[in-house]
Assembly symmetry: C2
Homo-oligomer: 455 residues x 2
């Protein structure tokens, strides 16, 4: 069935790259209203390509913000499964522009990579998927599966309107499983299955002491120092062995199985000392850095402030001190319950003489995980291996993708993350790029995958 | 001997206030170079007044910064003691100017107070001393003691050049004791002897983790969070009972005697809950707020910062976190030794996976204390009582005045702090003022005092 499809991609490589080039030329920066029309252009480009490929229903759905492109192909037959393919056509801003070696919206190929904003995240990977659909249609006249396409324009600004659209159009977006190409591989040309994402929650703590900053010579010894109070609270939440000491925090954490530990061992992870500059890694007692980042919950203080921050000395007792905390959660942990545990802990350990204000993070999400031995995952692993000629590794990621949790929550269907990015793609940074050989091998993987899971 | 002197001050009150008015009109803001000539004018005004009073040697000593006025009166005879009178003619800036109800450099009398920048700190109090010398000269033709006068123009900018001048002119400034009127009473018309000041030192701690801020989803679980490491360090330095837990910190602290505790009990201190807005005071275990602020060492975190401080959430592990700490010291504690103890403690408790940079505060000073039963102190207490018709209280202060420690260190002579300010004077703030009845009673106190300690 795949015969001719991969060849089509090879034979038409130049035309496809030219079309990708056009796509990347549109500055669809969703966060900056100055680019509102460009964002619309990118939606139009996407929908026109889908129409041209032969999707039998292509719509641009307006939202309160940027439009969402929806398309449907339902001619694979009743026996064929339906996949929901999700991606986004919006991109990050380009600042600092002076650090780009070529114009972010005038794609430039050098060193075997295509340099442009969105080359990897996510226009490039969306395009690869559409190109594979084109290849099937041009060579076979049909797709092996039924497809629903959802390409939004607000991923880089938190998918603000997507959740409501999914809720309001549950039937329209329903499918047997989901495929997303908006992630990466652990190393270039290292086939990688991302089978788990962490959940997310957070709180902000503000300790309030005196009404205004006080002279430390006059009031030192009479009032509780809010920064010291905050330090005591924070230090009580995670110990020196990186174990989170908040009551109940680990209660529902599913233990890391020996099978998963074996899978994680097989991943040649990054050399953290080299990429971060730390002298030694530090992880939760009983787990190494790879295990902790992939599969154990985390508690990080993202920011802290209070009192005088200028040069030299200002002898005050500050009025307030604030810390921002976020946690990455694993399967079993409920973000609302975790927030409540953090809150209870803080109220329990809070020293006398100060008040504590707690703000709960609204953008919470549960962790997502699909079993590595799920047939849809195993088939993906085999297709990666066939295309890249290398054994596939299985990883879980410390990061969170809200859409994944929403889809899981609404449809209870597997989400297969077929990412082809590499650690050097510089997402969100100057000089974003994507390697051309990953472009080729990634499309080849997708050709095999639709053949395997379709009919 | 005092007969006629107090009367002179009463009879000439209007002329004296007029002269004080002129003094306060000069905007001698030392920190702002735009006022350099005005600062010089204030020095000139001071020296002219001293000459007119009859000091037999009046000099303006140039420094790298603003000039210092020196004057000497040595005609009280060989048997009379010599006092060094210290004060400053420079003032704080006036910002925010819009909050002043009258021009800070056009003195205005209302509600029994004179409103002007410097009215209390310190031109007003310097002037009171000079007026009393004038009164003695005009009525008795002589002063009862030999006097050296040192009025500097750089107190509000840290007395930058004074220490070198004192070292270089040790003989010139030598005296039997020192009098300074640059402090206040615990309440209006409550005679107050300030017999102790705290010393001062500090450190700045910077915890360094990764080379740059890291994505908490990717690196959470692999590296030590610098803010959490800093929180652990800080929390280990003072416990919940406000006891400083740095090894050796209290080793040389002279214990608070029962006599001193009795003296402190007699002081009707401020209502801290009311003035600071805290719900309850918090002090070192075993000491109440008055005892701790006056007579026990303190450890305050003046500021902290690290990571993201903006609105909302940024999911990073920050590269660094910094805390600024200052301590107020009591007699027996050596600031250099204390800094070393803090440093040793931090290096001992520092968790793995991060580095710590420590900056030592340069402006350190030892505490100063004169025994409350010293005859020069007891005489001052009696004179206060006589002028204000109220029992004198004895206090120690949590603040530090560097000149006091320098004089103590260089000359080993008692420093008598004859301050007349009130808690409502709003030093360094808009609408600084000084009560006119304190002006009268303060000068009366000084008349009695020179008579008591002179011959």
């Amino acid at each position: 069935m795949v015969k001719g499809v991969v060849e089509y991609l090879t034979d038409n490589r130049e035309a496809l790259l030219k079309r990708l080039h056009e796509y990347l030329t549109i500055p669809s920066i969703s966060t900056d209203s100055a680019y509102k029309e460009d964002v619309k252009d990118a939606a139009r480009f996407t929908s026109e390509y889908l129409t041209e490929i032969g999707f039998n229903k292509v719509e641009i759905l307006e939202t309160k913000g940027h439009p969402l492109v929806f398309a449907e192909y339902n001619k694979a037959g009743e026996n064929a499964p339906t996949v929901l393919f999700y991606g986004h056509y919006d991109v990050q801003p380009v600042d600092p522009i002076e650090e780009w070696e070529s114009d972010p919206f005038n794609p430039n190929i050098r060193n075997g990579r295509i340099y442009a904003r969105g080359a990897s995240d996510d226009k490039g990977q969306v395009f690869m998927n559409l190109a594979v659909f084109e290849a099937y249609m041009k060579t076979k006249g049909k797709l092996p599966i039924n497809v629903k396409v959802c390409i939004e324009g607000e991923e880089e600004i938190g998918s603000e309107n997507l959740y409501d659209i999914l809720i309001d159009n549950k039937e329209k977006f329903s499918a047997d499983f989901v495929v997303i190409s908006d992630s990466g591989m652990v190393a270039k040309n290292q086939p990688t299955i991302l089978y788990g994402l962490k959940g997310f929650t957070g709180i902000e703590i503000t300790v309030k002491g005196p009404d205004q900053d006080l002279h430390s010579g006059i009031y030192g010894g009479a009032v509780r120092n809010p920064i010291m109070a905050l330090s005591h609270i924070l230090a009580s939440m995670k110990n020196d062995e990186e174990v989170i000491t908040v009551e109940g925090f680990y209660d529902n954490v599913e233990p890391l199985s020996e099978e998963e530990r074996e899978l994680i061992k097989k991943v040649k992870g990054e050399n953290y000392e080299e990429t971060t500059g730390v002298k030694e890694t530090v992880s939760e007692k009983g787990y190494d850095a790879k295990e902790h980042t992939m599969a154990r919950p985390t508690f990080e203080i993202n920011g802290i402030y209070g009192g005088y921050q200028g040069e030299g000395t200002k002898t005050i007792i500050p009025s307030t001190a604030t810390a921002k905390i976020t946690c990455r959660l694993v399967p079993g942990q409920d973000p609302n319950e975790i927030q409540q545990m953090l809150k209870n802990h803080i109220e329990k350990v809070k020293p006398s003489g100060v008040d504590v204000d707690i703000k709960l993070e609204k953008l919470s999400s549960k962790a997502y995980m699909v079993k590595p031995d799920h047939p849809l995952v195993q088939k993906a692993a085999a297709c990666y291996k066939k295309a890249f000629q290398k054994e596939t590794v299985f990883v879980r990621m410390g990061g969170s993708i809200p859409i994944v949790e929403w889809l899981d929550e609404l449809y209870h269907i597997p989400v297969i993350l077929l990412g082809f990015g590499t650690p050097d793609d510089r997402l969100h940074s100057p000089n974003e790029s994507f390697p051309l050989d990953s472009f080729d091998k990634g499309m080849e993987t997708l050709v095999y995958y639709w053949n395997e899971v379709g009919i």
